[in-house]
C-alpha cells in the first residue's frame, strides 16, 4: 500500500482516528507521518542505540576495528548484529561497551547472584575455548594424536574447574 499523502513511498504507519464519532483510517509513510506530527512509539532498540552511539564515536576512535583474538568478531560486526561472539568480548570491547551498558541498564556493575562453583576465572575460560578450537582443527586435519592429547587436556582442565 502506498502512502495516502505523498503517494510515493510505502505506507508503514496505519492510523485510526476518531473525530466527532466518525472513524477514519489513514495510511502514511514515515516521512509524511513525521511532517504531520504523528508521534511514533518507539521501543528501545539496541541496534539504534548502538549505531547512534557509534556514529558519535567514530571520529574520535577506531573502536569499530577492535577485534576479539578468541572468536574473531569485530566491534563493527557486533554493532551491526547486536550480538557478541564470546564471553571474552566483554574484555576486548570493555571501553565502548561501558557506554552501551550505561545506556541500557543505567549501571555497569553486577550486583546479583554469584555462581557457587570455582572455575569462573576468565583466563582459564579463554584457555578452554582456544583448546576446543585447536581440537576442532586437529580433528578436521586428521591429526588424531594431537586431537587425543587436546581432548585429555580439555577434560583435565574442565574437571579442575569443577573441583
Amino acid at each position: 500500500m502506498l502512502c495516502q499523502r505523498c503517494k510515493k513511498q510505502p505506507a508503514t504507519i496505519h492510523l485510526t482516528e476518531i473525530l466527532q464519532n466518525e472513524k477514519r483510517e489513514r495510511h502514511l509513510c514515515e516521512d509524511c507521518a513525521k511532517e504531520e506530527g504523528v508521534a511514533i512509539k518507539a521501543q528501545i532498540n539496541l541496534q539504534d542505540v548502538l549505531s547512534g552511539m557509534v556514529e558519535a564515536h567514530q571520529s574520535a576512535s577506531s573502536e569499530a576495528n577492535l577485534t576479539c583474538p578468541d572468536c574473531g568478531i569485530t566491534y563493527a560486526e557486533f554493532r551491526n548484529g547486536g550480538r557478541l561472539g564470546c564471553p571474552h568480548d566483554y574484555d576486548v570491547f570493555a571501553e565502548p561497551l561501558r557506554e552501551v551498558l550505561e545506556k541500557v541498564h543505567g549501571a555497569t556493575e553486577h550486583l546479583g547472584k554469584l555462581p557457587h562453583r570455582a572455575g569462573s576465572d576468565m583466563t582459564s575460560q579463554r584457555e578452554l575455548m582456544q583448546l576446543r578450537r585447536q581440537l576442532q582443527e586437529a580433528v578436521e586435519t586428521e591429526q588424531y594424536e594431537e586431537a587425543a592429547r587436546l581432548r585429555d587436556l580439555i577434560r583435565h582442565k574442565e574437571s579442575a574447574g569443577e573441583a
Partner: protein
C-alpha cells in the same frame, strides 16, 4: 512425556485460581546462561553446536532427571509442533525458527522449560499462574543452582553472567508478568500506564513478546535492566508496579460498570454471541472476543461460563493448536472454520 500429550494438555499459565488471576494471567522468570570456554551460540560451528547440545542435554537430564523433565530435539521436529511450543510460551520464536542443533527440556507440568542453543547457550524459564514473582524466582534460582553443579557458567565478577546480548548481562534475568487489561484499553488509559512503566526501566510487550501486538488486551511487563541491581531488587520493582496496574484496571472496570453499563454489557454479550455462533473466525478476532468475554465473566456480568474454558481457548484457538487438535495441516480458511467449530464445541453450543 510425549510431545503430542504435552501440546494437548492444559497449560499451567492459564490456570484460573492463581493470585490476582482475574487480571494477572501468569508470572515468568527467565535466566540466560552461557557455558564458560565456548563462543556464544551464533558463533558456534555446526559441530560445536552439536557438541554443546549433547553436553547441555546430559547436564540437564542428570541435574533434573527426578523432575520428570523430557528433552525434545527441535532440529527434526515438525514445524507445527514447534509452533505449538511457541504458542505455549515454552520456546521462543527465534529458537523455533533457528537452524541446526537445538533443543528444549520441559517438565511434566510445563512449569519449567530450558532452551538449549538459543541466542544464549541456556535459557531457563519458570512460569507460574497469577502473580507469583517470588515463588517463580525461588524455583528458577534453585534450578539454576542444580544445573550449575553440572556446568561451568561464563561469569565475570564485575559484569555477572555473560550473555550474547549486552541487554541481558548481569543477572541474566527477565521477570515478566502477563496482564489482561481490557478496561484500561477500553477507557484509553493504557498509554498512560505504559509511560509510567517505561520510567521505571520496565518494558511492555504484546502476548507473544517483542514486536508483537497486544491482541486480546494481553500485555507483558518485564524488567528492561538486568545489570546493576540484584534479582531481589528487580522483583521488588515489578512487585511494586504490578499491583498498581492491577488496581487501575479494577478502577477502570468499576467506572465502566457505573458510567456505561449498557455499552459494557453490549460489548460482552455481542462477543459471546459471535463466539458461540460464528461459522468462521480468525485467530485475531477470537482473541478480541475472548477478551471481552473474559472481562464479562470476571465482572460477574456473564454467568454460567467456566473461566477455565475461556482461558484455555486463548491458547487452543491459536493457529498451531487448532491444526494440532484437528490432527492435520490446514489452510488459513480451513483453520477459521475449524476454529469456529471448536469454540462452539468447547462453549457447549454446537
Amino acid at each position: 512425556m510425549k510431545l503430542d500429550e504435552l501440546i494437548l494438555s492444559p497449560s499451567p499459565w492459564l490456570e484460573p485460581g492463581g493470585p490476582q488471576s482475574d487480571i494477572v494471567l501468569s508470572t515468568r522468570v527467565r535466566l540466560a546462561r552461557n557455558i564458560a570456554g565456548r563462543p556464544f551460540s551464533s558463533r558456534l560451528r555446526p559441530e560445536e553446536r552439536q557438541d554443546l547440545e549433547v553436553t547441555l542435554k546430559k547436564a540437564v537430564l542428570s541435574a533434573l532427571g527426578d523432575t520428570g523433565i523430557t528433552w525434545f530435539e527441535l532440529g527434526d521436529m515438525p514445524e507445527i509442533d514447534r509452533r505449538c511450543l511457541v504458542e505455549r510460551h515454552l520456546i521462543s520464536r527465534e529458537l523455533a525458527a533457528a537452524d541446526g542443533h537445538r533443543g528444549v527440556a520441559i517438565d511434566a507440568n510445563q512449569r519449567l522449560a530450558i532452551m538449549a542453543n538459543e541466542e544464549d547457550h541456556l535459557r531457563l524459564q519458570v512460569i507460574f499462574c497469577g502473580l507469583q514473582l517470588e515463588a517463580a524466582w525461588q524455583e528458577a534460582d534453585a534450578i539454576d543452582d542444580r544445573l550449575e553443579a553440572h556446568l561451568t557458567y561464563a561469569f565475570s565478577p564485575k559484569l555477572g553472567y555473560l550473555t550474547a546480548c549486552p541487554t541481558n548481562v548481569g543477572t541474566g534475568m527477565r521477570a515478566s508478568v502477563m496482564l489482561h487489561l481490557p478496561s484500561l484499553a477500553l477507557t484509553k488509559q493504557i498509554e498512560k500506564v505504559f509511560r509510567a512503566v517505561a520510567r521505571m526501566r520496565l518494558a511492555v510487550r504484546g502476548l507473544y513478546g517483542e514486536g508483537t501486538q497486544a491482541t486480546g488486551d494481553i500485555y507483558q511487563i518485564s524488567n528492561q535492566a538486568s545489570l546493576g541491581r540484584s534479582e531481589a531488587e528487580i522483583l521488588r520493582t515489578l512487585g511494586a508496579v504490578i499491583p498498581q496496574i492491577v488496581a487501575y484496571e479494577q478502577q477502570a472496570r468499576e467506572v465502566l460498570a457505573t458510567e456505561s453499563p449498557m455499552a459494557l454489557d453490549d460489548r460482552i454479550y455481542r462477543s459471546w454471541g459471535l463466539l458461540t455462533h460464528a461459522r468462521t473466525i480468525s485467530s485475531e478476532e477470537t482473541l478480541t472476543l475472548l477478551s471481552a468475554v473474559r472481562l464479562g465473566v470476571h465482572m460477574g456480568r456473564l454467568k454460567g461460563v467456566n473461566i477455565g474454558t475461556v482461558n484455555e481457548l486463548f491458547l487452543l484457538t491459536r493457529p498451531g493448536h487448532i491444526q494440532k487438535i484437528r490432527g492435520k495441516e490446514l489452510t488459513e480458511a480451513e483453520r477459521d472454520v475449524a476454529r469456529a467449530e471448536f469454540i462452539r464445541q468447547r462453549l457447549g453450543v454446537i
